[in-house]
């Protein structure tokens, strides 16, 4: 029973990790760029919602869509201002650029909004839900379900006209250029969608653990999810998210009493290392064969 409780809550948290990882996967799918700024984007999303709701006094039903729109524009803006200039540069440069953006945002957002933790109440109660004997955290349940729905939506999106365009671009940029697809637009769109994913994740995580800079630490979990699932697979994100969430809850539940705590922080990095050692392209990713 203890195990089931840990596993279910873990799986729900994992789905919320998956939502953060979705931003990484969307960008990687479209442009082959590792988006190491997703943690900070999530944090910015949470700050934006908090600012709209608490700072401007907007009601929540208005603040959340506004924040989504703002983050869409912010993501596109990042791509337009920073990433587009780096096309054709070595991959190490682009990784460093996104990491630089992550650090910049991590410093700038708390500096502008204040570093103390903000409470973001989106009207999910505190009291737990009981499924039989199993105690489920209400915030995690709502978060997990919303995350799953959003990831499902993004799967549907890939069947729309815009989505097919994105798929073409992720398959072969030059060929889609030749077919008349505006590749820059598509990559910009993927960053905008990453911004939306970040805003959603920011709202959920902000309501769970409060809004401050520590939200950007979700980056390492999201990276673990994205790597384990395969960097270009949305289904992989869900599976890996659940897997990592469960591992992260179950392993400390049993091992922490033995080694004196703190193993939770270790799970994500261990999963990353093992995945890269055994199967670098992840569970569902496409194996990248480099041709000379």
């Amino acid at each position: 029973m203890y195990l089931a409780e840990l596993a279910i809550n873990g799986a729900l948290v994992g789905l919320m990790y998956a939502l953060v990882a979705l931003g990484i996967v969307l960008v990687f799918k479209a442009s082959g760029v590792a988006n190491l700024a997703q943690g900070a984007l999530t944090m910015v999303g949470a700050y934006v919602v908090w600012w709209l709701a608490a700072g401007l006094g907007a009601p929540l039903w208005a603040a959340m869509p506004l924040a989504l729109a703002a983050m869409f524009l912010f993501g596109r803006g990042l791509e337009r201002v920073a990433l587009r200039r780096m096309v054709g540069q070595p991959v190490i440069m682009i990784i460093m650029l996104t990491l630089g953006l992550e650090i910049l945002l991590r410093g700038a957002a708390p500096a502008l909004a204040g570093a103390t933790m903000k409470r973001l109440d989106i009207g999910i109660g505190q009291q737990p839900i009981f499924l039989g004997d199993i105690l489920v955290n209400r915030a995690y349940l709502v978060g997990g379900v919303v995350a799953l729905a959003l990831i499902g939506l993004s799967l549907l999106f890939f069947n729309s006209r815009q989505g097919i365009m994105l798929r073409a671009v992720s398959d072969d940029q030059t060929a889609s250029w030749a077919a008349g697809i505006r590749v820059e637009q598509a990559i910009g769109l993927s960053w905008g969608l990453a911004g939306i994913a970040a805003a959603c994740a920011g709202i959920l995580w902000g309501s769970v653990q409060g809004v401050d800079w520590t939200l950007s630490l979700l980056l390492i979990k999201a990276l673990a999810v994205a790597i384990l699932g395969g960097l270009d697979s949305i289904v992989g994100v869900v599976v890996a998210g659940v897997a990592i969430g469960v591992l992260e809850n179950v392993i400390p539940g049993y091992i922490d009493p033995l080694v004196g705590g703190g193993t939770r922080d270790l799970v994500a990095s261990t999963v990353i290392l093992l995945t890269i050692l055994v199967r670098p392209f992840g569970l569902f990713g496409r194996e990248d064969i480099e041709r000379v």
Binding site: A34, L36, A82, R85, M86, Q89, P90, V91, I92, M93, I95, M96, L97, L99, G100, L101, E102, I103, L104, L105, R106, G107, A108, P110, A111, L112, G114, A115, I220, L223, I227, L231, V259, G260, G262, D265, L266, A268, S269, T270, I272, L273, I276, L277, P280, E290, V292
Partner: protein, 357 residues
């Protein structure tokens, strides 16, 4: 005017291979070296121990990282973890009674070996995967250091660096510590200056430009990537030792967390990848810019001229690291070294701009 020659023309292989082909450069280096040696007697103690000393040590670290990032083209986001391994290893060895000269090498070797273990894992993959696995290494090493009491002495503990002797002389006081750091820094600088002239350096550059092409030319890419990882981790360990013994005189896990890794990467990128002088410039800018800006904004805020809160002040370093990395990658990917190089090239042929070589 300054250089008294228009362009560089070599007439012999020896001239081509010279470290400083232009006489003025040689003079510059001489003057800088003399200044560095004389600094303790000229500078006030505060400047020596809180600006010059960390700059020297961080330049050493940046040089080590630059070998990996600039020459070999591999990314490393866990450099602080490597430095931590060296620092902790050496402190424990010196405490156990090993002479410092041996212990610093042993600490470097320990870093190199552990770095290599991760390198093995990481070098089967490249680019993005390498970045993420070194990031994971940072988290793992951080965790192990702070959670194993035998290493860190407890989770919140600070290990004091013991008193140590170099070549039989006790190293006490800021002067002695400065000279120890300077000596190591000069050795590392000499090594890196010469790397570019060896087959090792040329192989690294070939691997950086395109590893498959290098393999076709007969360069064993895996071996050279590992060797670069090994050397760079060794240098990282040594600079971690300097940081622990000469600057902080103690170690805590927080001195080597992820932010420190990012700081090191920022130094390399801001300074210029693949440039020895760039490492010095980058370390200077990344170390000093937050201090200067903090003081400036703080003074202005106190004078009431600039309405900033304490919160903005405390976040200035992060904003600055991030901003510098982004700005340099976008506008001058080769960093401060390239800026200097442009200036130098301009004056090298001045006033005959058309004769740019």
């Amino acid at each position: 005017m300054f250089y008294r020659l228009a362009g560089i023309r070599h007439t012999s292989y020896a001239a081509d291979r010279a470290l400083w082909p232009v006489p003025v450069d040689r003079w510059q280096i001489g003057v800088l070296l003399a200044l560095a040696l004389a600094a303790p007697f000229v500078l006030p103690n505060l400047y020596l121990s809180s600006y010059l000393l960390p700059w020297i040590i961080w330049s050493t670290a940046a040089l080590g990282l630059n070998l990996l990032m600039g020459w070999a083209g591999q990314i490393h986001l866990g450099y602080a973890a490597v430095m931590a391994i060296g620092a902790y290893g050496t402190i424990h060895l010196v405490r156990a009674g090993m002479p410092f000269e041996l212990a610093i090498v042993a600490g470097g070797l320990l870093s190199a070996v552990i770095g290599l273990v991760f390198g093995f894992a990481a070098l089967r993959v490249k680019g993005l995967y390498l970045a993420i696995s070194t990031l994971a290494m940072q988290y793992l090493v951080d965790w192990i250091i702070s959670h194993v009491p035998a290493i860190s002495g407890g989770s919140q503990a600070t290990l004091q660096a013991p008193n140590f002797r170099v070549l039989g002389l006790p190293v006490a006081g800021d002067f002695a510590r400065y000279y120890v750091a300077l000596a190591v820094c000069l050795l590392v600088t000499l090594f890196l200056l010469n790397v570019g002239r060896t087959s090792f350096g040329r192989a690294l550059v070939a691997v950086r430009e395109k590893d498959f092409a290098a393999a076709i030319l007969g360069v064993n890419t895996f071996y050279f990537k590992l060797l670069a990882f090994w050397c760079s981790s060794f240098l990282g360990g040594v600079s971690g030792v300097l940081l622990a013994f000469c600057y902080y005189r103690a170690v805590t896990p927080e001195q080597f967390n992820l932010d420190v890794s990012i700081q090191a990467v920022a130094m390399v990128i801001v300074g210029g990848m693949g440039s020895v002088m760039g490492s010095y410039l980058g370390a200077a800018l990344v170390l000093l810019a937050p201090i200067v800006l903090n003081n400036l904004v703080g003074t202005l805020a106190q004078a009431g001229a600039l309405p900033v809160s304490q919160e903005i002040l405390s976040h200035i370093p992060l904003i600055l690291y991030g901003g510098l990395i982004v700005a340099f990658l976008l506008f001058e990917p080769l960093g401060l070294a390239k800026v200097y190089d442009n200036l130098r090239n301009y004056f090298l042929v001045w006033p005959f701009r058309h004769a740019r070589h």
